[in-house]
Amino acid sequence: MAAIGLLLCTADPIAAPIDLETRMRSLAQVTQVEAEYRETVELSLLDQPLESRGHLRYQAPDHLSKTSDRGDAVHIDGDRVEVIEGDSKAQFMISDQAALASVVLALRATFAGNLDRLRRHFELDYQPRTDSWTLALTPRERGIGNIVQTIRITGVENRIDRLEIVEGNGDRRSMRLSNQRLLACSGPDKDCRSTQ
């Protein structure tokens, strides 16, 4: 297995903003993402923000996992969610928690560059800039919209750097991704090349 670290610097000399369709296609080329994350949660319940760090992994088409530095982890495969906290493991269906499902869907579909799916569930507001882009997602379903107001995803080229969630009760969460490794693989862990 030769994952050749070929750095493809494809900075466009004209630097014209890229439209959403093209942006999504470029995101779709990335099939595997490994990153460090730093999550900040500001809740109306708490008088100080909660911070956590860990490792995030995305594998096309629909695997997402987060492992915190404290050793807790969540693995999401399709509709199945497995949460590992200390010694205890819990499994549930993501569709059991509509608000959570909506956030996970936003993140996975953006990673996957699946514009159809995003449009199906969210109103999209795409703001391309010369050096970065922002995609704001507003849930179409009112029941979810009352809880999750907006999900804002910020990125540079085919890389997602930041995810922010603003909730109906004023709670805010943000997750920054750093030290990313983006791979385009023709199969799971097969013939991968870096696409950064």
């Binding site: 319940l45 708490l46 909660l50 987060k66 492992t67 969540v74 906290e85 059991d96 709670d171």
Partner: protein, 784 residues
């Protein structure tokens, strides 16, 4: 020479007869309410258990639920969309109380009453015990861990209202233990290629017209789907089976009876060369069916569909009467003759067969009793019509000319009218009877064998049920009370008994309505133990010390607890129309004037558990019911009762035949082939089908009727060889047409029709040679 009688004129008679048939038909169409479900075919004096089972079979939620699958090679997301669209269409149709496809989330409104009352009804640990300082501290630390964990809860307002997770535990308890796979938010099969839905009809399971409309609503909703062209719709469930089997039975019986009519008509035409005879030959049977139906409706108030179907089958004997009349009647100069020779035999055949059927009328099972009345009255009237009205409709002049080769042909057929032959036959019958009596368990109590549903559809149903994780509840405990509160209290007071069963590992678990809604008494007791606002505030202050929760963050929690103090306990009525209420209704149901609470058992299907359950102290109020065993028990009783009726009928028939023919010394000659036919038919059925079910047994009754007929007519000693030839011809022709008719039925894929067809075709195939060999006198012209 036979006496002649004058008859009314043909035209007016036919007109009056047809008019009477028309009137009877109209009256029946108006009066008859057809009950089509098999569960009506059950005894009038049932035990409480059996009654409960019936209630469940007829009106339980399971009986009202349709299982729906959308199959197709479609993109999974579009399949999920199709499932959602169909679910919405079914909801909009208004025919369903509940449509589930996995996508439904609990709506806040629907949960409101349970949410508000959670401290009175929720699981004790998070909703009662965690309200102490230590419990609160533990709960708050847990919430903090979750908030900082990899999968933090999104909606934190719930934590402010419910820091101990009472509501979450309450909702978790409502989830059924096994659930189907899901993809894109809807239920799918394991291979992901089918979207699965459940739809519970508003209409009662026994309201077949409404069930049919519900199925139509599913089909209409499906047809309107954007992707319906790429999808296949599969429906299953009791309601669908009921109307589906009605459709299948209608289609199959239409085709089979069309084919059978054609065959019989062709045969009759070949024999009598007259379209007129073929047509009027159908009149007695039609009259019999209508008069029989009328008799049942007048006696019982309504008629069951299955009674009608089986009754018409039993009346197949009536097809033979016109043939006898056509063969023997002579009509010349407005006079009718030739019937006096067969008159006594015809009378005896009818009386014995009607007796056999009438024995059923005494049965305790209403369906069986109806069958007896229908077949008895129908057969008697068909025979009367054949004997007294049919000859008048014959053309003038009329005489059936037997083919000249016939007597010679008959002479060449061997007949075993000798003492040794009869002794051998008698010995054979006795030996076979003894052998068959040794069979340990010949009766099939498998309900699916009594089903009118094709096997492929049963297989589909089982597969969908397994995929949907909706196993049929087989073992339950139940508690009866005068009102819901009493039932709930009784279950609560028997909880030690239930927990003892679990602790002793006799059962793996159980579900109870009190887990969803405790009795009002329990709720009041819990209410009185709730902390006051001040108490709770003090405990919270202590518990929150050192944790990052904002001051006042839990005000909604304190408010909710305040409310809980003032609440009146939640009743089943308060939960009506909510998901929780629907779940409760599956376990707490009205039951005649009383109420019953059901406690489905998990992992109790082993002898030790069953023994323990059966020996539960009646004082505990818990009663055990095994649905499979009870239904098997019902069928067993049914079979035993049919057997008793048959024994009675056989004795009666034996006596009647002896009385009727003893002077001619042909009692043994008549009875022997009948007995041999029945014993052989029974043995063959056992060998082919493995077990004898109810429909085999009822069909054996028809075989009895037919073989009596053949035997009586063939055993006559006639002075004129031509007369014997006529009788033999009539019997052979009737037997051949019945054989073809029931042979066609045996080809049916519907288990019931197949059973009837096979039994009867075999029986005729046996009765014909048996009667020709054993019943006929050796030399027809001997006594001449």
């Amino acid at each position: 020479m036979a006496p002649r009688m004058r008859l009314p004129r043909t035209g007016p008679l036919l007109a009056v007869w047809l008019l009477c048939l028309l009137l009877l038909m109209l009256w029946n169409l108006n009066q008859t309410t057809l009950h089509r479900d098999l569960s009506m075919f059950l005894p009038r004096t049932a035990t409480l258990q059996e009654h409960l089972l019936l209630n469940q079979l007829r009106e339980g939620i399971a009986a009202r639920t349709l299982l729906i699958a959308l199959q197709g090679d479609l993109d999974p997301e579009r399949l999920a969309d199709a499932s959602r669209a169909l679910s919405a269409a079914l909801d909009a149709s208004g025919r369903f109380r509940r449509v589930a496809n996995g996508s439904e989330t609990f709506e806040a409104d629907a949960l409101a009453p349970a949410l508000a009352h959670r401290y009175l009804i929720g699981p004790r640990e998070p909703c009662q015990m965690d309200l102490g300082t230590e419990g609160l501290r533990r709960a708050l630390e847990r919430r903090l861990d979750e908030l900082a964990g990899p999968m933090p809860p999104i909606d934190t307002s719930l934590i402010a209202r419910d820091p101990t997770g009472c509501l979450r535990a309450l909702l978790l308890g409502l989830k059924p233990p096994t659930r189907p796979h899901q993809r894109h938010g809807v239920w799918v099969s394991q291979d992901g290629r089918e979207a699965l839905l459940l739809a519970e009809t508003r209409a009662q399971a026994s309201d077949l017209a409404a069930q049919a409309e519900a199925v139509t609503a599913v089909r209409t909703g499906f047809a309107a789907l954007a992707d319906s062209a790429q999808l296949h719709l599969a429906i299953s469930g009791p309601g669908y089976f009921a109307i589906g089997s009605q459709e299948t039975i209608q289609t199959q019986t239409t085709w089979l009876s069309a084919a059978a009519s054609l065959v019989v008509a062709t045969l009759l035409f070949a024999a009598f060369r007259s379209p007129r005879l073929v047509l009027i030959g159908a009149l007695p049977l039609a009259t019999g069916i209508l008069i029989g139906t009328t008799a049942v409706v007048l006696t019982f108030g309504s008629i069951q569909g299955i009674t009608l179907a089986l009754g018409v089958t039993l009346m197949g004997v009536a097809m033979d009467y016109p043939v006898h009349i056509f063969v023997h009647t002579e009509r010349r100069d407005g006079d009718i003759g030739g019937l006096s020779g067969i008159g006594p035999s015809l009378l005896l055949a009818v009386v014995t067969t009607v007796c056999g059927y009438a024995a059923l009328a005494l049965a305790e099972f209403e369906g069986l009793a109806q069958l007896g009345v229908l077949a008895g009255a129908g057969l008697a009237s068909a025979a009367a019509c054949s004997r007294f009205l049919l000859p008048a409709l014959l053309p003038e002049p009329y005489r059936w000319k037997a083919p000249s080769a016939l007597p010679g042909l008959l002479d060449r057929l061997p007949t075993l009218d000798s003492c040794p032959a009869r002794l051998i036959a008698l010995g054979l019958t006795g030996l076979l009877t003894a052998l068959l009596a040794l069979h340990p368990d010949p009766w099939s109590s498998d309900l699916s064998r009594l089903s009118t549903v094709p096997r492929s559809e049963i297989a589909l149903d089982q597969r969908l049920r397994a995929e949907l994780g909706a196993p049929e509840v087989a073992q339950i405990l139940f508690v009866v009370g005068t009102n819901p509160e009493q039932v709930l209290q009784r279950i609560e007071s028997s909880s030690t008994e239930l927990n003892r069963l679990v602790d002793a590992s006799l059962i793996a678990g159980f579900d109870t309505p009190t887990r969803i809604l405790p009795s009002q008494a329990t709720q009041r007791a819990r209410q009185s133990e709730l902390p006051t606002r001040d108490q709770l505030q003090r405990r919270l202050d202590q518990a929150v010390a050192g944790l990052p929760f904002r001051t006042g963050a839990f005000a909604p929690f304190l408010d909710d607890l305040d409310l809980a103090h003032a609440q009146t306990p939640l009743t089943p009525d308060d939960l009506k129309g909510t998901p929780i209420g629907e779940r409760l209704e599956t376990l707490l149901q009205p039951f005649d004037a009383e109420w019953v609470g059901l406690i489905p058992l998990i992992g109790a299907d082993h002898p030790a558990a069953i023994a323990a359950l059966q020996s539960l102290d009646p004082a505990s109020g818990l009663r055990y019911l095994d649905l499979r065993e009870t239904s098997a028990g019902l069928i067993d009783r049914f079979i035993r009762e049919t057997l008793n009726s048959l024994t009675l009928a056989a004795a009666l028939i034996g006596v009647l035949i002896w009385l009727g023919v003893r002077r001619q010394g042909r009692t043994l000659r008549v009875i022997l082939p009948i007995a041999l036919t029945l014993v052989l038919d029974y043995g063959l059925l056992l060998a082919i089908e493995g077990a004898i079910n109810l429909f085999h047994l009822v069909s054996l009754l028809l075989v009895l009727g037919l073989s009596i007929d053949y035997s009586l007519f063939l055993s006559r000693r006639c002075a004129d060889p031509a007369e014997s030839a006529r009788a033999a011809f009539a019997v052979a022709l009737s037997a051949l047409s019945s054989l073809l008719m029931f042979g066609l039925l045996a080809l049916s894929s519907i288990p019931v029709l197949h059973a009837i067809g096979l039994t009867t075709a075999l029986g005729i195939g046996l009765a014909l040679p048996a009667t020709f060999l054993l019943a006929r006198p050796r030399r027809p012209s001997l006594s001449g």
